[in-house]
Subunit: 199 residues, 4 copies
Amino acid sequence: MSKIENNKKYKRDSLLDSAFTLFIQKGINKTSIQDIAAKSGVAKGTFYLYFKDKYDLRNILIAHKASQLFQSADIAMHKAGITDTIEQMLFIVDHIIDDLAQDKKLLLFISKNLSWGIFKSTLINSSNTENIDFYDIYTQLLNQDQYDFIDPEIMLFMITELVSSTCYSSILYNEPVKIEDLKPYLYDAVRNIIDRHIA
Amino acid sequence: MSKIENNKKYKRDSLLDSAFTLFIQKGINKTSIQDIAAKSGVAKGTFYLYFKDKYDLRNILIAHKASQLFQSADIAMHKAGITDTIEQMLFIVDHIIDDLAQDKKLLLFISKNLSWGIFKSTLINSSNTENIDFYDIYTQLLNQDQYDFIDPEIMLFMITELVSSTCYSSILYNEPVKIEDLKPYLYDAVRNIIDRHIA
Amino acid sequence: MSKIENNKKYKRDSLLDSAFTLFIQKGINKTSIQDIAAKSGVAKGTFYLYFKDKYDLRNILIAHKASQLFQSADIAMHKAGITDTIEQMLFIVDHIIDDLAQDKKLLLFISKNLSWGIFKSTLINSSNTENIDFYDIYTQLLNQDQYDFIDPEIMLFMITELVSSTCYSSILYNEPVKIEDLKPYLYDAVRNIIDRHIA
Amino acid sequence: MSKIENNKKYKRDSLLDSAFTLFIQKGINKTSIQDIAAKSGVAKGTFYLYFKDKYDLRNILIAHKASQLFQSADIAMHKAGITDTIEQMLFIVDHIIDDLAQDKKLLLFISKNLSWGIFKSTLINSSNTENIDFYDIYTQLLNQDQYDFIDPEIMLFMITELVSSTCYSSILYNEPVKIEDLKPYLYDAVRNIIDRHIA
DNA sequence: TATGAATGAGGGTTCATTCAT
DNA sequence: CATGAATGAACCCTCATTCAT
């Protein structure tokens, strides 16, 4: 990569980082392109050389951040040598929750912007080279031989929604209880959902 | 004087209705007060005679709509003569889901705006006379004698979050499956959550 | 005066009082007719039954307040039995300064709004019955027999402008010195102006 | 780059000029930013690239205009070779009065906006590089060796207030007499004030 | 007389987007 | 590639004034 290429990549990343911080601090609607450019130390016009508009940038950001979460969990899972599919799923859930509990800003951003629709279209079906690992995790879980799941996609859907929506309130506001206190009940519910889907 | 009072009530309702439609069509951020007033056939300034700003109106709308849902379910439940607490909960969930399936716009609006935090502060703890029934339902469920629930608030929280987040995707986009196909799995999961909370 | 007449007079005075307070607190530009009406406990429309607009009310207020100041000084002067014209002028100046030093709000209002132009047109030449005494004081001073003044109107003009403009800064902000410290120099200057106008 | 800088300076000056004219014609309160921008032939938004708001612009204008007056008088005074401090003061007063008599609009603007408070804070104590000459004049007058003035600041204050307030009415409205007829009396009064402050 | 609901013009301000440099 | 001055549409909100009651 040439020096110019490097410089471009650096500017793009800088804009992404700045936008991420500002989206969290003030919300996407109250964040102006001027704000993002200023925080990145570039001119307003430069923004348009890299992104179409604020929402284009946001979508890229979501895919990027969510993908990172799953990759990190996947790597840790393999390191831990877990092979049972059910335990793999629980490990990933737990790892992601812990990551988000550490980084509440990230949770705030992802929760406000990530739905199952985007989850599937942007991440799972993505041809985006950045997010390949993520697609792998998903298909590996669904097409494995250990268990014979009934409607595995519904199962994953319910788990995803239950976990993400309860964690949002619990991690960010400790409502109705803090995440550590919620976890036993939550994982119990998840296990039950899985059990009910085994043929 | 009654004529004027009636006229005011009519205007206020008209503004609420117009705003509701526009919030759904374009989202609250892209809806201007000008838009709302125009759709209601009143002048821009008139809006401010009834509401402080867009968000004041939204909060009133959320409380109103959500309260209606629960009241309607409560009434139907009593008509049906259901007395078992667990069956009551499932009946209410089912009734609300059916209402929302009929009125996707309402679902869209409520989902985007109703969180567990608002759920508790606006509805449950509300001293708002409009929403009294709703508070009653909640406390009746928690303080009944039939069952001895462990952490009933966590239980209700998990049920609420699981149901609301899965229904959003399922009713609106039939993703991953349509609501009728999701229901068996969903109610099964709900029942399991309840079972695990019985002492 | 009938009961209705009394009521009308009362409302008018109430509007004048409310406006005076608000003009001082927030300035005339930031005071709305709504504000004035609300403070008086009457409806917005009622304002227009008594005054043409905000500025109509203000002019009436100025004439009224300024006239009061001079009347009060005149009465005190006669009580004190001062007969020498020069001493009369100095007595009036001193009395008004003391009144304004006691009532800084009044000073603020009058200074911002009273010019020599209004002074003459509204007060001196006024056929307004409320301000008759004031006109008398002015003509008495000019048409007396004790002294033979050269250009007495210029003399009064210079005295009025010197006193009013220096007092504003001195009473309100103690700049460059407080009024008690300014007085000796000021009265000395006034006496000198008078002396130079004696034929 | 110099072209752009020139253009910016031109725009800024154009806005200042337009505002000045409008402030005089309609008063600052009735002058909208829209008006100023339109008169300058720029878009409304452009105004905010140069000034924070209307009052920011006004303050810059006052300092600028008042400073010009004193500079012009100072230059003329030195050209005339006047060295006696008392004569210097009278020369400056006379020069400024003549300038203002020629430019009634300027007088109108300055009178409505310039008080002793602003006089001191904005002009005398200013670190603004534009107004340095002005500060010099003031300190030179106060700290000279020819005369030993008692309370020189009070003296200057009284002269300033007397001159500015009488000139306003006289120049603009010829009330009570036109400025040429007032001058003899006024300068006589000023000389007397100075005399009484010599130790 | 008195009301106060309704109006809608108009103000200040922000900001996405363009384009000459 | 990068800039940032300029734009002007669009926003929110206030308020003097009117008029049906």
